[in-house]
């Protein structure tokens, strides 16, 4: 077991890493876009909370290969079904944290905001959202790391990325490819984790807590 493959084909590894990153990042982008309204709704209307979180939790339990296979008859193979699957899996992390963050804001703070004359939208934009942000970003961080791992499977439906090396390694009995792919995926995940931790630390409320 060694990293020979990495040293022999650095350009290909780099290309696949780029593909992997773009696939994961795009999936996260769409996932966050969907999770914000879902999370806001689930946080606001208690009747929606359990159904939404329950559904997203159920989606997460579907085996990834099965999920991709289900989509082949309608969406075929390639990048689109992979993005859909990855965005769907990420929802539970994103929405759960967003709900926790938005709900966790102190009621007195919100009442003070309304009492000073902020409109409903201003209360959300200037108080509730920034105070929920660290918890929400923590959700993005967990989801992103998970998505980067999960994206390897997308190679199975020709969506590219570092999973390609893993499948090649298995079919050609080439452990060096498997190790190279695994190392690159881990590196990406660690990088994403570090970047988002930095973002968490740079929210206004995190800066205020550090100052205290």
């Amino acid at each position: 077991m060694n990293l020979d493959y990495l040293f022999r084909h650095p350009e290909r590894v780099l290309d696949l890493t780029g593909e992997h990153l773009i696939l994961s990042a795009l999936a996260m982008f769409f996932a966050v876009l969907l999770a914000i309204p879902l999370g806001a709704a689930a946080a606001r209307w208690r009747r929606l909370t359990l159904p939404i979180l329950g559904l997203l939790g159920a989606i997460y339990t579907v085996p990834s290969l099965a999920f991709l296979a289900f989509m082949i008859p309608t969406l075929g193979i390639g990048r689109t079904p992979a993005l859909i699957a990855l965005a769907a899996y990420a929802q539970i992390f994103l929405v759960r944290n967003l709900v926790a963050g938005l709900r966790g804001v102190d009621a007195a703070t919100l009442e003070a905001a309304r009492g000073q004359g902020m409109t409903g939208w201003q209360v959300f934009r200037d108080v509730r959202w920034p105070l929920a942000l660290p918890v929400a970003i923590a959700g993005v961080r967990t989801a992103f790391v998970s998505t980067i791992g999960l994206a390897s499977v997308a190679a199975w439906i020709n969506a590219g990325g570092l999973g390609t090396l893993l499948f090649e390694g298995i079919t050609r009995d080439d452990p060096s490819r498997i190790l190279t792919g695994a190392v690159a995926i881990t590196a990406l995940a660690l990088l994403a984790d570090a970047l988002l931790r930095l973002a968490e630390r740079n929210t206004a409320i995190a800066r205020a807590r550090r100052a205290a």
């Binding site: 102190d106 703070t109 003070a112 902020m118 409320i205």
Partner: protein
Amino acid sequence: MTPGGLPALPPRRIAEAPAPGGSDETDGRCSIETESRGGASAIAFEHVSKVFSGAARPAVDDVSLTVAPGEFVVLLGPSGCGKTTLLKLVNRLYEPTSGRIAIDGRPIADQPAPQLRRRIGYVIQQAGLFPHYRVWENVATVPRLLGWDKRRIATRVDDLLELVGLPPAEYRMRYPMQLSGGEQQRVGLARALAADPTMVLMDEPFGALDAITRTRLQDEVRRIHRQLRQTTLFVTHDIEEAVRLADRIVVMRTGRVVQYDTPLAIVLDPADAFVADLVGADDVLRRLSLIPAATAMRPLGPGGPRPDTPTVTMRSDLRADLSQLLADDVPALTVVDDDGRPVGTLDLAAIQAVSTPNAELADDVAAGTARPTR
């Protein structure tokens, strides 16, 4: 004039509901401009009730009362009496089930709630500061909502921090979490006053503070009110706090107003057993602690003050005066005004005369023959 420079306000019982249309006199055709005019607002509650869905009885039950411009009115009562609900009806955090509230003659229901609230300062118990904003940003909340320019906001923030006793250079850039409870509440007060509101609502603002800090902040609030004269509604369950701050006190019980009068009149002549119990009227020492020397003192004799008698101020409470009388073992004390001039004399008989509930004395006070202070 009372020593604090406040115009003496006639005590008014709730039975004397405002004459129909009475509050409309202040309804200037241009009342919209109160926003920039500063000054103080009049407020009128007319048969206001609030029933929360699912509640067995109204939280606020047919309340009618008026508050004069610049008046400091304390809403007093045990928890669940409806005082906080009544307060939150004023800035429309709650909407009344029936009845009408008007500020300067203008029904508040006709005004968009956010715009209304920007003209009404609001202070709540735990200060409710925005933890992710620095002190200056917290104070700047309403001016920013009103779209003031940056320079005007910066000047205003510093002025307000000065006003509430927080040196701007030291406090401007801090976060709420870096402040003590008392400092946070000072910032809360500055935030409420930022856009020159004509009215301030305070909901048990000092309830969570220790006794020393609370007393200090009460003094600050009184000083600031004398200076700025905003109409103020202040909720508390603490009778001492009410007496210390109020021009008039609204005593509430199960959603109704039981008595609306000056602190002194309430202490001297409680409307019923509930109010008597609330102010501790049966406890002579407690009662004396709520009455200022000015109420009980006798006029100076023709010979002027007796020499060598200890002096107390008109504002000192009778409990303290009694202690001094006993400790110094003298027949009488000389009462002096704020400038130290002798104005009266206080002996045991004079103190005894006010030590039990006494409607005649209360009437004398109301008529101005006995002089209340606050």
